[in-house]
């Protein structure tokens, strides 16, 4: 949403020509209406429904004959105060896990993904094969990847025999965190690699030639030429990965299991509540997660996005000139 808003061009001049613009404005609104309708359907409605649900509670009282009283009652912000009150330890633990996983996996994926992209970009024999094999982890469904890594990390599994350790990776504890970080990095670094590769392929060869003529070494070329030029693509990849990692669910769920404090994320918390048929608290967790994701996305786009789009626009202008 934020990206599209920023790319909508010429808001200022449009307002200046208001008198003339009224008609085209209406036309634009009309033309955009299908988009808004779809957005309202797939974004607006679930969001509002979740917000509404988070203010209600139900199904937790028994009547005299032992049946659960049906219907929901309005409880205001009680579900939220409960999150920060009686359930606060669990919530902050999940919040910390979510943040830890996001920061560590995205950082690792950027480094490894960029390295993969550079390798994939190289013109060499068997390039097709290398590209395909690097992308394999990305093509595997997360739940399946979770199972594969669970076998690797089980007590008598490959990980322990390779490392010569006797760690219990899938028990509740720090090895479980590490297991999730490793598996997620393995799984999604190719995604970053793919986007960076697309960015790399846009860089004209002559820039590198010029750099070489000027006497830049391989490392200097990468650091001073390749990286700045590939930055826009890299930022998009990082943004996608951030949003994705913040709502991480299936990998820790399958790899380590539900209700394990070491790897419980905010999404898992919401799922757990919903599974116990407590939709109010579940919706409250979901709304809090949504706010967290929204804030992160907003800050990211504000801090880096302006630069990102600026770069691109400048480049386009340069190409045209």
């Amino acid at each position: 949403m934020l990206l599209t808003e920023r790319t909508t061009p010429t808001r200022g001049p449009d307002r200046a020509r208001r008198g003339r613009a009224d008609r085209p404005g209406r036309k634009a609104a009309l033309l955009l209406s299908p988009t808004f309708l779809v957005l309202a359907l797939v974004v607006g409605y679930p969001l509002l429904a979740a917000l509404r649900e988070s203010l209600f509670r139900g199904g937790d009282e028994l009547d005299e004959s032992g049946f659960i009283v049906t219907g929901e009652r309005f409880v205001g912000l009680d579900n939220y105060t409960a999150v920060f009150g009686e359930a606060s330890a669990r919530f902050w633990n999940a919040f910390a896990n979510t943040t830890l996983f996001t920061v560590t996996t995205v950082a690792a994926e950027v480094v490894i993904g960029t390295a993969m992209a550079v390798v994939m970009h190289r013109a060499m024999r068997g390039r097709g094969l290398v590209r395909a094999s690097i992308l394999v982890p990305w093509a595997i469904p997360t739940a399946v990847a979770g199972l594969l890594w669970r076998w690797i990390f089980q007590a008598d599994g490959v990980a322990n025999s390779l490392l010569g350790t006797e760690l219990l990776w899938t028990a509740d504890g720090w090895p479980a965190k590490l297991a999730v970080i490793i598996a997620d990095t393995w799984k999604t670094a190719p995604f970053v690699g793919l986007l960076v590769l697309a960015g790399l392929q846009l860089i004209p060869q002559d820039v590198h030639e010029a750099a070489r003529l000027d006497g830049a070494g391989a490392w200097q070329q990468f650091w001073r030429v390749t990286l700045p030029l590939v930055k826009p693509a890299l930022l998009v990849a990082v943004l996608f990965r951030l949003l994705d990692a913040l709502r991480m669910f299936d990998l820790p769920f399958v790899l380590v299991g539900a209700q394990k404090g070491a790897v419980e994320t905010l999404s898992m918390l919401a799922w757990d509540e919903a599974n116990q048929v407590r939709y109010g608290p579940a919706a409250a967790y979901a709304v809090l997660l949504f706010l967290y994701v929204a804030v992160v996305a907003f800050v990211f786009v504000r801090l880096l996005g302006a630069d990102l789009l600026g770069d691109r626009r400048a480049r386009r202008a340069g190409a045209r000139a």
Binding site: A21, D22, G25, R26, A28, A29, L30, L32, S33, F36, L37, A40, L41, G44, Y45, L48, A49, G59, D60, L62, S65, G66, F67, I68, T70, Q154, A155, D156, E166, L168, T170, A171, D172, G173, G257, A258, Q259, K260, N275, Q276, V277
Partner: protein, 425 residues
């Protein structure tokens, strides 16, 4: 102007969406309705259930049954059934539930009360039948049941000259002798299911029951402040501390434990009946084929008390053909059908007479042990908030097993949490 137009469009879109959501397929349910029905059940690898359904269909052309498979794993199964009930959908008529959900599903009016006389209830084992009741009324019919069994390495026990144990002390003594054998090098004594999931709750309930206690009584009140509860938890905690249970068993669910036993890593293993055939497979997948036996799980002073596993059949309250649904359940759980069913699949049946059938006893040599186990077994607590209770138990027991909480602290915390749950429901 433009903004106003957009706002109007947005508002109308939302309104349209809002109206649309109210028209779900809600049905009031019909207690006497008849017609073709669906049977939501778990995947049957042996193909026996589909055969039994076909036989029903041949006799009831107007009330044909269609099998719908539920997701594998209790979580997925539960999620599907909850969704179905939340939308009050009539897509499932007969549903398969895990036995501890009986109370909750009944209290939520998702399943209907069943008339005892239609189902010949006297033939069922007592424990599964009790687990199918909520506040004295019957809400589901036991389809499969099962108690834990103690799998032991008969070859090693014979070599060490010890009998299969029936108490925890005997179990430890037997281990001391067996593990002294050169052939038992690198092996561990015992393991059950100790990962943090429903299996841990089952193992803990069993340990307390086998020490003569009861975690939650029939009124839903917890009793963790008893010496029996302490003895039960100590059996597990001390087991981990002194290495009777190997450290990696903290990651064991049913399958991990089975693998360890099959690889010859364990002298004793607590598991369900389903692993018998797998551990006895002579295709090379099991190193213990023909080398093990089963007995009733041990307890503090005598044979232990198992937790009851199993699946029940219930009639969805949203079904419009509940009369047919009841008939079908009666057919599927009748003695004749169960005898037939048992021939094709190793799932433990719920009628006592199945266990005395000579043909079946030959086919499944563990049947007498299983029968003893089920007769001793106890259903898991029949409380509405079972899921929360199980989570609270797992939380404390797991922390105690990992040494993060003392036995006393874990029991006190469990008592507090379970009392809160009992009050809330």
């Amino acid at each position: 102007m433009r903004k106003a137009a957009i706002a109007v469009l947005m508002a109308s879109a939302l309104a349209a969406v809002g109206c649309g959501s109210d028209t779900g397929s809600r049905t009031p349910g019909d207690a006497d309705g008849r017609g073709p029905i669906t049977f939501a059940t778990l995947k049957d690898g042996t193909g026996t259930v589909p055969e039994l359904v076909q036989r029903w269909n041949a006799d009831h052309p107007d009330e044909k049954v269609t099998i719908v498979e539920l997701p594998e794993g209790a979580d997925g199964q539960r999620q599907k059934l909850v969704q179905q009930a939340q939308t009050k959908s009539d897509v499932y008529d007969v549903i398969t539930i895990d036995i501890p959900w009986n109370a909750e599903f009944a209290a939520r009016r998702w399943i209907t009360e069943l008339p005892r006389e239609q189902f010949a209830v006297d033939g069922f084992f007592d424990a599964p039948l009790r687990g199918s009741e909520y506040r004295g009324k019957l809400y589901s019919i036991p389809h499969f049941t099962g108690s834990a069994m103690l799998y032991y390495r008969e070859d090693l026990l014979d070599r060490a000259g010890v009998e299969p144990p029936s108490t925890w002390t005997e179990l430890r003594a037997a281990c001391a002798k067996v593990l002294a054998l050169p052939a038992a090098e690198g092996m561990s004594c015992y393991a059950g299911q100790h990962d943090k999931y429903e299996g841990l709750t089952v193992n803990f309930l069993e340990a307390v029951g086998s020490a003569g206690g009861e975690v939650i009584d029939e009124q839903g009140n917890p009793h963790l402040d008893t010496p029996e509860a302490k003895a039960g938890l100590e059996f597990l905690v001390d087991g981990f501390r002194d290495g009777m249970i190997p450290a990696e068993a903290i990651t064991y669910k049913e399958e991990e434990g089975r693998r360890a036993f099959q690889q010859g890593d364990l002298v004793f293993h607590r598991n369900w009946a389903y692993i018998y055939a797998l551990a006895n497979a002579d295709d090379g997948s099991s190193e213990v084929a023909g080398k093990f036996g089963v007995t009733v799980i041990p307890g503090a002073d005598g044979p232990g008390v198992s937790s009851l596993g199993g699946n029940n059949l219930a009639v969805s309250a949203f079904s419009t053909k509940q009369a047919t649904a009841r008939d079908f359940i009666a057919y599927l759980t009748s003695l004749d059908t169960q005898l037939e069913h048992a021939k094709g699949s190793a799932y433990p049946m719920t009628r006592t007479e199945v266990y005395t059938d000579p043909g079946l006893r030959e086919q499944y040599p563990y049947l007498p042990v299983l029968k003893d186990g089920i007769e001793q077994a106890r259903p898991r607590p029949s409380i509405v908030r079972y899921g929360d209770a199980s989570t609270a138990i797992q939380e404390s027991v797991y922390a105690a097993l990992k040494g993060e909480r003392t036995v006393d602290a874990a029991l006190a915390e469990m008592q507090r949490a379970l009392s809160e749950i009992a009050e809330g429901s």
